[in-house]
Amino acid sequence: MLTGCLGRKSEPIVVTQPQIIQQNVPIQARPKQLQLTDVRWYVVSETNLDEFLANFKEEEGLLAFMAISAQGYENLAMTIADMRRYILQQKDIILYYEQALDNAPDDEGLPQE
């Protein structure tokens, strides 16, 4: 009995180290709002060209303006629309990540050592 007792190895001591690693990514503030200035468009064709020139000179003082074709206008409009689409989708993706980060696991229910 004595030899059996002395010969027994001691029980191994279990060491557990539960670690809770939390995401620590602060949500950043959004960029400043766009500061947009209103723009007035004139539609000028051979129908109202003379009238436009007279009115424009009266309003602006000088007869100088930037012109764009109908097709150019369509292209510009579609370009701006696509840029807006990009801004919105970028915002959506940022929101997605913000919501995902907001869902970071907390230590509730997790036993601490």
């Binding site: 009995m1 400043k32 000028v44 051979e46 369509e74 579609m78 959506d92 995902a100 229910g109 036993p111």
Partner: protein
């Protein structure tokens, strides 16, 4: 004299057995203590593991929901471009410019105002709205 030796021998054996039993008892108690402590630690570790797995599953489900919502929102963001494209497809802007320049001018200026307002709303840092929430 022999009786004394026999007595001492028996006492020695009994003492040895008693000491052995005592040591066995002490050792067993120590082992029980260690095993009890190990068990408590393992229960805690197991609970932590279960809670972690539960949270991982919840996170995974949440990610799937968010992903689905994102897909819908990304699709919605295309609406303005799609609407504009279909408008341009329906109307002949050149013909309108020739026939009704002032009507077209009014429509264009209104559309530009709405677009600029929309862009202001879209980039408002205080707005929680997602894409296409307005318009």
């Amino acid at each position: 004299m022999l009786k004394v030796y026999i007595f001492l021998l028996i006492m020695g054996i009994m003492g040895g057995v008693g000491y052995g039993g005592y040591m066995y008892y002490i050792d067993t108690q120590e082992r029980l203590g260690v095993l009890r402590e190990n068990n408590a630690k393992l229960v805690v570790a197991n609970d932590a593991k279960d809670a972690t797995i539960k949270q991982m599953l919840e996170t995974q489900n949440k990610a799937a929901e968010l992903n689905q919502a994102l897909t819908v929102r990304l699709q919605k963001s295309e609406e303005y471009s799609d609407g504009l494209r279909s408008k341009f497809a329906k109307i002949n802007i050149l013909r309108m410019a020739l026939d009704e320049p002032y009507i077209l001018e009014g429509k264009i200026n209104n559309a530009v105002t709405r677009l600029l307002d929309g862009l202001r709303d879209d980039t408002d840092p205080n707005a929680d709205g997602v894409s296409g929430s307005e318009e």
